[in-house]
Symmetry: C2
Subunit: 406 residues, 2 copies
């Protein structure tokens, strides 16, 4: 499964049992390096399951929040963040009825948790997702999305959400995420983790090629790598010191300034008001989501640059100053936004957990008991014979991807 | 609102009242050219609202399906398509529990209708969406998604869905779509429409630059343009004859072969089974979704290449040979997959309409009466004062996008 002829290309972290020959040394090094060894308390209560947090600590939502805040001091629980943001936006005149949301997250399907919350307020987003959150849709792409905005009261209104992501599991392991019906741990963000490995191995200068150049087989990763490297070089960061948390924060800064450049080129403030919310999405899921009685899965958001721009005037907002809703209100809103009327998060704090059945269904499409083998049918004598057909490609030699003509 | 220094760049169609100075001549020409003038029947029943279809015809779901099939003979209603596909996939051993879905649609938020159906079966997709459906995530991106697959019974399983999109509204106008709380018509697919205009104006050769080159301010559009141009040149298509339907079908072929190249490079068939479903997503929405008593909004899918690959052996499928579910079954499944338990589609045929309230909420985030002005709050003496803050960019001169260092 070679990646092809492109120089400097990599495989993102494919952890888990199927890829014992993991080539992405960077990702593993990162995890080993950055995992805090028992970051909060000595393990006095019970046997530690994995690194860091004890079983009891993993069931304590406030302890979990402390671990996250150690890495991201401005972190809020997802439902807490999104409800305060909705209050602040409504106060400045942005609602689902009169605004279109643009969401810029990573392509990783785990990011659906934040996307669902945004869409429960604003309806379907114009999505600019890319690997690691890199923006490749360009000025024309942003303009296309903006041109779909509601027009209520004479002005278009846009709300931009931009969040690269990171996983820090219930045991406190940085970069690790458990996937529905998949044994072992997986990585997030794989793209940023891959960049980190390359930067440490090859340095930054080697990544800074000319503008407008990409690897035809890996457009997004090569563009992400170049943009991050330029930024880190400008910031004079020491690659020896950089860890996954650090590169994720650097990605947030880089992508935010890219987004603001696109906005500058695409938005006419005489015709439109807009708002920008950036930060980092943090998956704090159970270290093994496939275990029935494991610790709860949580989501956090590290709050970044937050402002509204009304009639061309920018106002920076501190959402931590918006009061939290009551736990009961948060629970009702969380339930409505997860499209799961029958399942209510059970927490009595502003940190709401994702019910395991909801996570397994929404992320994994799992509706029954997990890890129960479903036999692959033999396409033999049944109805399957009737749906078989032939297919002739009309242009079998047409050029593929960015190849030259055959 | 210039697009910047990039040569040959364009603005996607910004129709509607705010952009009377529409620069995208291509898009409008296309629509004028390809809209069938009353394609089915003479307008005998009532006064025609716009081009083509009478009011009564627009309320007749079977008539609507006929108009779509005139342009796309293999079109099926969305719920009909997705339910047959789920049956076929289950018959070959692919379910939400044991498979990950990759969805490759356009970034347009209207595409949520198909995305929701896929996710109701498979859970959150690894999304590779790009403008016009162009694939830019690359080999590494695809591999990252695949590495999140469930492993049930020893093998990974992937289901790829790849669909560029087009709008054909209830009046039969090709390329036109009405957006929640936005007066006038908008375009879909704007990116393909823009490419068509450029190809007609500049020809194909001018678009075929070297592999691995993109416009830094418009990575995706420039990559899409180049790939489509190469394909159309290889197919020896006459640009004079090409219309929006034709370029959309060409995009389906191009993107399908790009996808298959990525699969070839990323999938190890000794460790994974997979399935591929391609085609075109067709928005057949009410010509004015903001009118309370307008015709119903429908979605169709033109079925393209469909196959499963099990243990390395490929079997092409003809989903039109899978029996349709009964209208009552379709209605129940459609309701469940739209996350709208209280709203049931009302059709008694296999063509199910999207209840207007569901479309307005899911696509537009609209929960009350539409087009009711929501005043923008003056950030004056209220609580808003408390959430204002200052923000200093730590690296104001950091390079943006693919710019060289400042």
């Amino acid at each position: 499964m070679g990646v092809g002829p492109c120089k400097g290309s990599v495989t993102l972290a494919h952890d888990g049992p199927t890829t014992s020959s993991n080539q992405d040394a960077g990702a593993n090094k990162i995890d080993d390096k950055t995992v805090p060894q028992n970051p909060i308390l000595p393990t006095s209560n019970s046997v530690p399951i994995r690194l860091g947090q004890t079983e009891m600590q993993q069931h304590d939502l406030q302890e979990r929040a402390k671990v996250i805040k150690k890495h991201f001091p401005k972190a809020l629980a997802l439902d807490d963040f999104i409800s305060r943001t909705e209050v602040a936006l409504a106060g400045y005149g942005f609602t689902g009825e009169n605004s279109i949301a643009m969401s810029n997250l990573c392509r990783d399907e785990s990011c659906i948790m934040l996307e669902d919350k945004i869409e429960s307020i604003f309806g379907s987003c114009f999505s600019t997702h890319g690997l690691g959150g890199v923006l490749t849709c360009g000025v024309v792409g942003i303009k296309a999305g903006l041109s779909h905005s509601p027009i209520v009261g004479g002005k278009e209104q846009y709300v931009f959400f931009s969040f690269p992501h990171i996983a820090i599991d219930s045991a406190g392991e940085v970069g690790k995420i458990s996937r529905p019906n998949r044994p072992g741990a997986s990585s997030a963000c794989g793209a940023l983790s891959a960049c980190l490995g390359i930067f440490k191995a090859e340095g930054l200068d080697a990544q800074c090629k000319g503008p407008g150049v990409h690897d035809p087989l890996d457009p997004e990763l090569s563009i992400l790598r170049q943009r991050l490297a330029r930024r880190l070089r400008h910031e004079k960061k020491d690659m020896k010191e950089l860890d996954l948390v650090g590169i994720t924060q650097a990605a947030e800064r880089t992508i935010t300034s890219d987004l603001e450049q696109l906005i500058e080129k695409a938005v006419d403030t005489s015709k439109a008001n807009y708002a920008v919310f950036t930060g980092v999405q943090i998956h704090n899921w159970a270290a093994d989501v496939n275990k029935d009685d494991g610790p709860p899965s949580l989501e956090f958001v590290s709050v970044g640059k937050s402002y509204v721009c009304i009639n061309g005037e920018r106002t920076y907002l501190d959402v931590s100053m918006v009061p939290s809703l009551a736990p009961r209100q948060l629970r009702l809103l969380a339930t409505a936004s997860s499209g799961a009327a029958e399942e209510q998060p059970s927490s009595n704090s502003v940190v709401q957990d994702i019910p395991r059945s909801a996570l397994m269904r929404r992320v994994g499409g799992v509706t029954g008991r997990s890890a129960e083998p479903v036999a692959v049918s033999k396409p033999a004598d049944g109805w399957q014979q009737f749906v078989k057909t032939d297919f002739q490609d009309a242009h079998p030699n047409a050029p593929k991807m960015d190849d030259k003509d055959a």
